[in-house]
């Protein structure tokens, strides 16, 4: 079984070869689009040609067989063309209205969750978690699953004031746009790394380990040819562990989930916003993280109830104020909510005008 000749630095295949003929023909010449329902939209070109997009959820973590199944569907309905979205949904294209229903029927028969278009909850941007990362304080795929099981109707039918972008990151490295999401879950540690002196000595570069700590909590421990940590300075970021694996930080009882809310990246109306802390810690309670689901439910319900049309989570909160956010959701305001980091000063309330709660 001889291998073909390897090639290097050729880059990805050119995207053009993968474009549906209608898309290729009308490239750059689209005129408008219409959302037909949660799972179907049509884009109309200046030429009058149309492309119908049908979107379905994926768990992102996909077996090859599932992708083959997508291929089957694409071949059956779409001349073999398909794509994935930036939020890990799969999209199928048909070029006439009459082809939409058969495609939908087929997807339905296979229990696909069709939706995610428009002012809804779309798929959850997320990360590796216990499925693949050494740094994970929680699992990502599991959290996505329980959240979306709870809110699937907001994917497939129910509308909100605007899109509600949910993201999950399994540690504070935040491999996703967690820091600018409407609602995001972040795996966090609550205890400092444990120092395995033998390991540090043998496998870590001490100066870069020390340098990795943003709070200068780490200093040399010459006696052990290792390092020590000033406990009260450690903010459990895990940065040292990324540099030195002999400083494991995962902790079965104390790792947990922080919830941040109100971020966005789009520039519509208000500029992009960072997510802000809503809940500093909830227990890591697999397989279905009921405490986390409950809190997300509360936040989403209040958003649904309170937001005006087109208001994103962060715009709604900005309008009602953070103090009201805490009072309507009933979430407790804790010392952890008060910033003590790089730009803390800018978050202090430098006005006598605030609301009573």
């Amino acid at each position: 079984m001889s291998l073909p000749d390897r090639k290097t630095d050729i880059g990805p295949p050119h995207y053009e070869q993968f474009l549906h003929p209608v898309i290729k023909k009308n490239f750059g010449k689209w005129k408008y689009h219409e959302e037909i329902n949660a799972g179907v939209m049509v884009h109309v070109a200046e030429s009058g040609e149309k492309i119908y997009t049908v979107r379905a959820a994926t768990p992102r973590l996909l077996a090859t067989d599932t992708i083959r199944e997508y291929c089957d569907i694409a071949e059956k309905h779409c001349d073999g063309y398909l794509r994935f979205t930036t939020r890990n949904n799969v999209e199928f294209f048909v070029d006439s209205e009459s082809k939409v229903q058969p495609l939908l029927d087929d997807l339905k028969s296979k229990d696909y969750l069709v939706g995610g278009i428009g002012a809804r909850i779309s798929n959850v941007v997320h990360t590796q978690g216990w499925v693949h990362c050494h740094s994970a304080a929680t699992d990502a795929s599991g959290l996505v699953k329980v959240i979306m099981d709870e809110f699937h109707e907001y994917f497939s039918s129910k509308e909100l004031a605007n899109r509600c972008r949910i993201a999950v990151a399994c540690c504070v490295n935040m491999c996703g746009a967690v820091h600018c999401s409407d609602i995001a879950l972040v795996g966090v540690h609550k205890t400092p790394p444990r120092i395995m002196h033998e390991g540090v000595k043998n496998s870590c570069e001490i100066p870069s380990t020390i340098a990795s700590c943003p709070t200068t909590a780490i200093s040399p421990d010459p006696a052990n040819k290792s390092v020590k940590i000033k406990l009260e300075k450690c903010m459990y970021c895990g940065n040292c562990y990324s540099v030195c694996p002999a400083m494991p930080i995962a902790d079965t009882e104390n790792d947990g989930i922080a919830i941040v809310v109100g971020g966005k990246v789009s520039n519509l109306r208000k500029p992009p916003m960072f997510s802000k802390l809503a809940v500093p810690w909830l227990p890591n309670n697999p397989p279905r993280w009921p405490e986390v689901v409950d809190v997300v439910k509360i936040i989403l319900k209040e958003y649904e109830k309170g937001a005006r049309k087109h208001e994103r989570m962060g715009e709604w909160i900005a309008r009602i104020s953070w103090e009201k956010f805490f009072s309507v959701t009933g979430l407790e305001f804790k010392i952890q909510h008060i910033d003590d980091f790089t730009y803390a000063r800018e978050t202090f309330r430098t006005t006598a005008a605030f609301k009573w709660t």
Binding site: D9, A63, Y70, V131, N173, C175, C237, P272, P287
Partner: protein, 393 residues
């Protein structure tokens, strides 16, 4: 194939309406022992609430410093199938478009050389092939590359650039985000595959300020399409919308700059005060369209919160034409990298470096003229520096 391990906890995640990743793992496990052991190890993690992966060593393919993330189980005796479980980042085509043939080809190779598990896609935009052994990397690479695919970035290198679908299916795209992404990727193959930077560098390209690729939050360089002239208004379509929506409430009142007026059924935009936020266009896509003098705003610096707090990208070039061969763009990038290379510390992203050495210093060194679009507001405290030429002697 019957189940190799009992997975009572994960089984709970097969319930519910949303497609289940556990079902996916089981599907792969039916073909692959690696995937079967993955299921077992993840079940254990669910039980212990602890990850069982070790920080990866350096693994990869010959001549490349990136594209593969090394990963090893910390309990390989228990789960030998995941003793090695490296991921391979395949550079996805711009816009994530595929044909079934192309996908099948990759999937077949992956079943041959790997666990049969994938991520479509990773957060940076790669097609992620999840889990293989070191010895499979070379043959896999030979097979995929000979079929026209290549690895993406990892480590202190250019990371796989990615983009929104842009002109392919969106009426608002001001730049050909896919063409630009493809061009950047080809242009920087070496910088992508052979890490030589202080740290990672990401490009993300969005066709307009809607930013469907979240470029402003997670790209060291964010390229966002825009226009310099006027929003095109079709008054007839405005009239059609009038019967379907409350134009005042949804368009006029939500314009952040207050530059829209709507009287007598006519919608007028004072374009000199428009910030091109895209709200009105999104609300009335049949009636309003971006202008025709198109280009992009270049922003720099976003990243995740480690170490000094999350950054969003900020404007460094208000407007740049983005047309092939993109000379102006590449010149800018090269100058920025040179400066980063000279001044950056190990593991210091460009945004952090600029923050440390100051934005004015960056502008001076790189030779960019200051412009009010670069700041939300001018500085407050009057402690600014002067150069020798500003001083009277």
């Amino acid at each position: 194939m019957s189940k190799k391990y009992d997975t009572p906890l994960l089984d709970e995640l097969k319930k519910g309406v949303f497609p289940s990743f556990v079902v996916e793992m089981e599907k792969a496990a039916a073909r692959s022992d690696m995937a079967a052991d993955l299921l077992g190890q993840v079940e254990l993690s669910y039980k212990e609430k602890l990850t069982h992966w070790k920080h990866g060593g350096i693994v990869g393919v010959r001549g490349y410093g990136s594209g593969v993330i090394g990963r090893y189980s910390d309990i390989p005796d228990k789960f030998p199938g995941v003793a090695h479980f490296h991921t391979v980042r395949i550079n996805a085509p711009s816009g994530f478009y595929y044909t079934s043939n192309a996908l099948r080809e990759i999937m077949d190779l992956w079943d041959k050389y790997g666990s049969g598990m994938t991520n479509m896609h990773g957060s940076t935009g790669d097609m992620i092939l999840l889990g293989t052994r070191s010895e499979n990397l070379e043959p896999l690479f030979a097979e995929v590359s000979s079929r026209g695919w290549d690895l993406g970035g990892s480590g202190s290198a250019v990371r796989t650039p990615s983009c929104c679908l842009g002109m392919s299916r969106c009426e608002w795209s001001n730049i050909d985000s896919q063409a630009i992404t493809y061009d950047i990727t080809q242009h920087y193959q070496d910088e992508m595959h052979r890490p030589a930077f202080p740290y990672k560098f990401k490009f993300k390209i969005a066709g307009c300020a809607v930013d469907c690729i979240a470029s402003i939050a997670r790209a060291d360089m964010s390229v966002i399409g825009t226009w310099r002239d006027k929003i095109r208004v079709d008054q007839n379509e405005v009239k059609n919308y009038a019967s379907k929506m409350d134009i005042k409430a949804e368009v006029v009142d939500l314009c952040p700059t207050g530059c829209i007026t709507y009287t007598g059924g006519e919608l007028t935009i004072d374009d000199s005060n428009c910030s091109r936020c895209m709200n009105c266009i999104a609300r009335m896509t049949k009636a309003l369209r971006p202008g025709v003098e198109k280009g992009a705003t270049i922003l720099l610096g976003s990243k995740a919160p480690i170490v000094t707090g999350a950054l969003m990208s900020w404007v460094i070039v208000p407007f740049m034409k983005m047309e092939p061969p993109y000379d102006e763009f590449y010149e800018l990038v090269d100058k920025i990298w040179e400066w980063w290379d000279e001044n950056g510390k190990n593991r210091e992203r460009i945004g952090e470096l600029i923050e440390r050495l100051t934005f004015p210093r960056f502008l001076k060194d790189v030779g960019i003229e200051p412009h009010p679009a670069m700041v939300k507001e001018p500085r407050r405290d009057p402690f600014f520096f002067w150069s020798e030429e500003d001083i009277k002697r």
